[in-house]
């Protein structure tokens, strides 16, 4: 049985490993990979598809 607080599973787009995400992730949300720390965008939910999020370099000015 899965409840709505059980984590959902997805494939890490960089390493291909299976990773756990919170149950309440939404399409478009940015979330960091527990394996690589990379910021991932949630592309779809059923199944969960993730893509590397475009890098925001706001704090890294020159």
């Amino acid at each position: 049985m899965t409840t709505d607080t059980d984590p959902v599973l997805a494939e890490d787009p960089i390493t291909g490993e299976e990773i756990e995400l919170p149950a309440d992730v939404e399409v478009g949300e940015i979330i960091d990979s527990p394996v690589t720390g990379t910021e991932l965008e949630v592309i779809s939910l059923d199944p969960v598809v993730l893509e590397e999020a475009p890098e925001l370099e706001e704090d890294w000015g020159e």
Binding site: L21, P22, D24, V25, E29, I31, D32, P34, G37
Partner: protein
């Protein structure tokens, strides 16, 4: 497990679930660090509005090993102990919700520190839940150990107030100082973490580096706390200096009657010899002869020391803490340990580093 099971908890196998509200913040992160290593707590929730669903390690790189993601403060998990590390004004609004979610609430803000609503009118912008003020206990065991066991609303002290109270309390207890004594000047130097994670222009590295900057010349709100708990009116001034962690209070006091160095040793040894976290550092040799924030950085220790200035009939008292531990998160956990009947030093064993730069 609820707070009234505290008596059983002295065994090391007591286990409490905990949540941290304000988990992206500086003291919230410090709570998470301490609780993660605490044998009697299991953190089940850390909240953030701005980093909802992100890993805790993204905000706090030292917690990358923690398998936990921030969640929304509107969905509080049911826990034994809720720690709140939000800006002043939040927990006084949320305290009912906090108690719906938890048996014991430990608040790190100023919201439950002062004993009376009138003081919030005088020093802050009033209080939204004054009915809780009597129930709250000040977290600092060196000041309030006897009232903490079984307490279910614990109010962490202010960092600068804590440094000052620890420095002066032995003199008050010994009657060297009382409300009739003359001027008590407290000149404080603090690190940048006191400003929290959300600092503005004055907290940017180029502007904040290398400073000695009067940031609260007069009228600092911690005066209220000191007066409430020591019964002394103090002349308080706070300076920002170039460190991240640390609060150092230099207290210049002028006792009515002459005291000797032996008197001072007696007073401070009497107050602190049995305290697990207090150290008297007062003269001696080597480089570290008096209290210094960097000697206690990362630890829950407080260092106090003193020197006589007979020509001016003055006693100078130095007190140094880490504002993130003894001055907030460590004090909160220490207070919770006492409240729950856990070993006092549980989770707070780190002894600090040497050498260490500007921790």
């Amino acid at each position: 497990m609820s707070a009234d099971d505290a008596a059983d908890a002295a065994t090391s196998d007591a286990s409490y679930t905990a949540s941290v509200v304000g988990g992206t913040g500086f003291t919230g992160g410090e709570l998470l660090r301490i609780l993660a290593g605490h044998p009697n707590f299991e953190v089940v929730q850390a909240t953030s509005r701005s980093a909802d669903n992100m890993t805790v390690g993204r905000s706090h790189p030292n917690l990358r090993g923690l398998d936990l993601r921030f969640s929304d403060p509107d969905d509080l998990a049911s826990v034994d102990v809720l720690f709140s590390a939000t800006p002043h004004g939040v927990s006084m609004e949320q305290v009912d919700e906090y108690f719906e979610a938890a048996d014991t609430v430990v608040d790190l803000s100023a919201d439950f520190r002062l004993p009376e609503a009138a003081l919030y009118d005088e020093w802050y912008d009033g209080h939204a839940s004054p009915e809780y003020l009597e129930r709250a206990e000040y977290a600092l065991p060196e000041l309030n150990r006897e009232n903490l066991p079984g307490a279910d609303l614990i109010a962490g002290g202010g960092c600068n107030a804590t440094a000052t109270i620890l420095g002066l309390k032995p003199l008050v207890d010994e009657g060297v100082l009382d409300s009739e004594t003359g001027e008590v000047v407290v000149d404080v130097k603090v690190g940048s973490s006191e400003g929290g994670a959300g600092g503005g222009a004055a907290s940017s590295h180029p502007e904040r580096s290398g400073v000695v900057r009067p940031y609260a010349p007069t009228g600092h709100r911690h005066e209220a706390e000191i007066e409430a708990y020591l019964g002394l009116s103090v002349s308080f001034t706070v300076h920002a200096v170039d460190m991240v962690r640390g609060a150092s209070a230099t207290c210049h006091v002028f006792p009515d009657d002459p005291v000797s160095k032996a008197d001072l040793w007696t007073a401070y040894r009497g107050a602190y010899a049995d305290e697990p976290f207090m150290r008297i550092v007062s003269g001696g040799g080597g480089v570290y002869r008096y209290p210094e924030p960097k000697s206690v950085a990362g630890t829950n220790h407080g260092e106090v020391g003193f020197e006589l200035d007979p020509g001016n009939r003055r006693v100078v008292v130095f007190s140094a803490i880490d504002n993130m531990t003894k001055g907030s998160a460590g004090q909160a956990v220490h207070g919770a340990n006492v409240a729950l009947g856990l070993p006092e030093t549980a989770g707070l064993e780190f002894e600090g580093l040497h050498p260490v730069g500007s921790p």
